[in-house]
C-alpha cells in the first residue's frame, strides 16, 4: 500500500467528500467539499468514484513525504507545487515515487486546494461519509495533523498522464457574481433592501469559514425581524439584525431563525468559497429553473466526458 505521510498539514486541511445525506434532522451539518468543481475534477483525473474523499487544503502550506509509488492529482486554487524541489503543475496527474517530497506553497489568489488519491482517500466513515465537520467536535472527526497517513483506497494501478484543459477549469475570477434564487422571506424584505442587495458591491469578510461567508457592504435598512427557526438549505443567505448578509455553506447550522431573502445556487457557492477576504462580490437575482438546469448540466458534463489521446497526454473530450 502507498500513502503520503504528512510533515506539515498547512493552515487547515481536512478530509472531504460529497458530504452526509440523511442526518440533518439530528442536527448534523452536511459537510463536504466546498468547491464542488475543483473537487470533482480532482477525482475525475484519477477515475475515482463521484463521491470519493479528497484532502481539502485551505490556503496551502502543506508538506508530505511519499511512501511507495503513488499517483495523485491536485486542483483548485493556484499555488506553487513542487516535487523534490522541482516545480510541477496543478490540474494534472502527478506520479510520485517512494520518498518523494511533495510541497504545496501558499496560494496568493484563492483559498481551496484539492488533493486526490487513487480510489479516494481512505478515512473512517461516519454518518455515511468521510467528511469532517470540525465544529461539531465529534471524536475522530479532526483536521489532518503532522504525522497522519493519507492512504489511497485503491492500490496504485497508474493511469496515463492526464491534464484538465484550461477551458474546463472553473474560472476563479476576481469579481464574483453570486446569483440568488428568491425564496424564504424574500417578499417580507423591503423592495429598497432587495435593490440594495442586488445593486451594491460586497466584500468577503475575514470572518468567513466552512460554516458561512460573511459579506460586508451597504447594510440592509430594515431586515424583517427574526422568524420561527426553519430548516436551512445550503447556500441560504441569512440577514441578521446588522443587515450584513451571510451565505451559509456546508458546515452551517441545520436550522436558523434569521430572515433569508433567498438561496445562492451550489456552483456559485463553490466560486464564493474560493475567495479570500477583501474580494468583491455582487448579488443578482436568478430563477430556480435556471439554477437547477445549470447544476444538472454540470453533472451531465462530469458524467459524460471521457479522456482522449492528445500527444502524450490525455485530454478532456
Amino acid at each position: 500500500m502507498s500513502w503520503l505521510e504528512v510533515i506539515r498539514p498547512g493552515v487547515l486541511s481536512s478530509v472531504q467528500d460529497s458530504g452526509r445525506q440523511g442526518y440533518r434532522h439530528h442536527g448534523l451539518a452536511c459537510g463536504g467539499a466546498l468547491d464542488v468543481r475543483s473537487f470533482s475534477w480532482a477525482n475525475k483525473l484519477l477515475d475515482n468514484p463521484r463521491n470519493a474523499a479528497c484532502l481539502e487544503i485551505v490556503l496551502g502550506g502543506f508538506h508530505a513525504v511519499t511512501r511507495g509509488k503513488l499517483q495523485i492529482a491536485l486542483t483548485g486554487a493556484e499555488a506553487p507545487v513542487a516535487v523534490n524541489g522541482q516545480p510541477v503543475s496543478m490540474w494534472q496527474t502527478l506520479n510520485l515515487n517512494d520518498a518523494d517530497e511533495l510541497t504545496i506553497g501558499h496560494s496568493a489568489s484563492h483559498r481551496l486546494i484539492y488533493l486526490a488519491l487513487p480510489g479516494g482517500l481512505d478515512a473512517p466513515l461516519h454518518f455515511g461519509s468521510r467528511s469532517v465537520v470540525i465544529r461539531e467536535r465529534i471524536a475522530g472527526l479532526d483536521p489532518i495533523r503532522a504525522g497522519d497517513k493519507l492512504a489511497a483506497l485503491k492500490s496504485n494501478d497508474t493511469r496515463p498522464d492526464r491534464v484538465v484543459p484550461i477551458a474546463c477549469r472553473p474560472a476563479l475570477s476576481a469579481d464574483i457574481r453570486l446569483r440568488i434564487i428568491p425564496g424564504y422571506q424574500y417578499h417580507q424584505f423591503a423592495r429598497s433592501d432587495i435593490l440594495r442587495l442586488t445593486h451594491s458591491a460586497y466584500t468577503v469578510s475575514h470572518q468567513s469559514d466552512r460554516m458561512g461567508f460573511r459579506l460586508q457592504g451597504p447594510a440592509m435598512d430594515s431586515p424583517p425581524p427574526g422568524i420561527l427557526s426553519e430548516g436551512i438549505a445550503q447556500g441560504a443567505v441569512q440577514v441578521p439584525g446588522d443587515g450584513q448578509p451571510i451565505v451559509l455553506l456546508n458546515d452551517g447550522q441545520t436550522i436558523g431563525g434569521y430572515p433569508k431573502p433567498g438561496v445562492v445556487p451550489s456552483l456559485d457557492c463553490s466560486a464564493l468559497a474560493q475567495q479570500l477576504p477583501g474580494t468583491r462580490v455582487r448579488f443578482e437575482i436568478t430563477d430556480l429553473a435556471t439554477a437547477q438546469n445549470e447544476r444538472r448540466l454540470f453533472e451531465r458534463h462530469y458524467q459524460c466526458t471521457r479522456w482522449r489521446s492528445c500527444g502524450h497526454l490525455l485530454e478532456w473530450l
Binding site: 442526518y23 425564496g183 420561527l228 430548516g231 436550522i255 444538472r296
Partner: protein, 232 residues
C-alpha cells in the same frame, strides 16, 4: 404551503405560529414521506412549523417534487390533529440544579424574584415538546417554559458552555449535548448522553421531555462532570 427554496430543497409550511400540536403533525408528515420511499429524498429537516425537504436534483426537478409532495399531503390530513394518537416517546432527563452546575441560576432568581427552589419546581413541572433539532448535533429546542422563569439569551454568548448544561432562552429550554459556545441562561447540568455517534440523537422532533431534579451525588454517579474552572 409548499415552496421550492433552492435547487435542491422545498419548504413545507404547516402554520405561521407555534402551537403544541405542530411537533406531532410534523413528525407524522416526516414519517409519511419516509414511508413513501421517494428515490430522490435526501434529507428532512423538521422545525417549529416547517419541514424542509432536501432532494437530489439529478433525480427530480422542483416541479416533480412539489407535485409529489402535494399528492402525499392530500391523502392524509396534516393540517389538524384530530383523531391522531399522541406521538413521540416520553424521555425523563435528570438534572443537577445548583449554583455550581448552573451559573445563571442565582441571576435568574434575582431577575424573576423567585427563589431558586421555586425556579427548579417550575422547570420540572412541565412536560415539554421537542419542537426542533439543530444548532449542534442532538441539540433539541423544547417548549414551552413557564412564563415566570422565561428570560432572554445573554447579550454576549459564553465562549464555552459545558456538555450537559440545561439552559433557558425565552420560553424555550434545551440541553447542550456537547461543550460549545452558547448564550442560553444555564440553570443546571444533565448527565445523560444526548448525542452518540452510533445511536445519534436521543431526542427527536415530537418527543416529550420531563426534567427531574437529582442530587450532586446522583449526578456524579450517573457520570456527570463538574468543570473545575468557574464560568464567568
Amino acid at each position: 404551503m409548499i415552496e421550492p427554496v433552492s435547487e435542491d430543497a422545498v419548504l413545507i409550511t404547516l402554520a405561521e405560529a407555534i402551537d403544541d400540536t405542530l411537533p406531532a403533525r410534523i413528525a407524522r408528515l416526516s414519517q409519511s414521506l419516509r414511508d413513501a420511499k421517494l428515490p430522490w429524498l435526501q434529507d428532512l429537516i423538521p422545525s417549529y412549523a416547517t419541514l424542509l425537504v432536501v432532494y437530489d436534483p439529478m433525480l427530480a426537478d422542483f416541479r416533480d417534487v412539489t407535485s409529489r409532495l402535494k399528492t402525499i399531503m392530500s391523502t392524509e390530513d396534516f393540517q389538524t390533529d384530530i383523531k391522531q394518537p399522541p406521538t413521540g416517546k416520553l424521555v425523563e432527563l435528570p438534572v443537577y440544579y445548583s449554583i455550581e452546575s448552573g451559573p445563571d441560576l442565582a441571576w435568574l432568581a434575582a431577575e424573576t424574584g423567585l427563589d431558586m427552589l421555586d425556579i427548579i419546581r417550575r422547570h420540572t413541572a412541565i412536560e415539554y415538546r421537542v419542537h426542533a433539532l439543530g444548532f449542534a448535533p442532538g441539540f433539541a429546542f423544547m417548549g414551552e417554559v413557564d412564563p415566570a422563569i422565561a428570560k432572554p439569551r445573554k447579550q454576549t454568548p459564553r465562549k464555552q458552555v459545558p456538555a450537559g448544561s440545561v439552559g433557558i432562552a425565552n420560553r424555550q429550554t434545551a440541553v447542550y449535548p456537547q461543550a460549545s459556545p452558547g448564550g442560553w441562561q444555564i440553570i443546571g447540568c444533565c448527565p445523560t448522553t444526548l448525542f452518540d455517534p452510533d445511536t445519534l440523537s436521543l431526542l427527536r422532533v415530537g418527543d416529550r421531555v420531563r426534567f427531574c431534579a437529582i442530587s450532586r451525588q446522583d449526578f456524579l454517579a450517573a457520570g456527570g462532570k463538574l468543570t473545575e474552572t468557574r464560568l464567568p
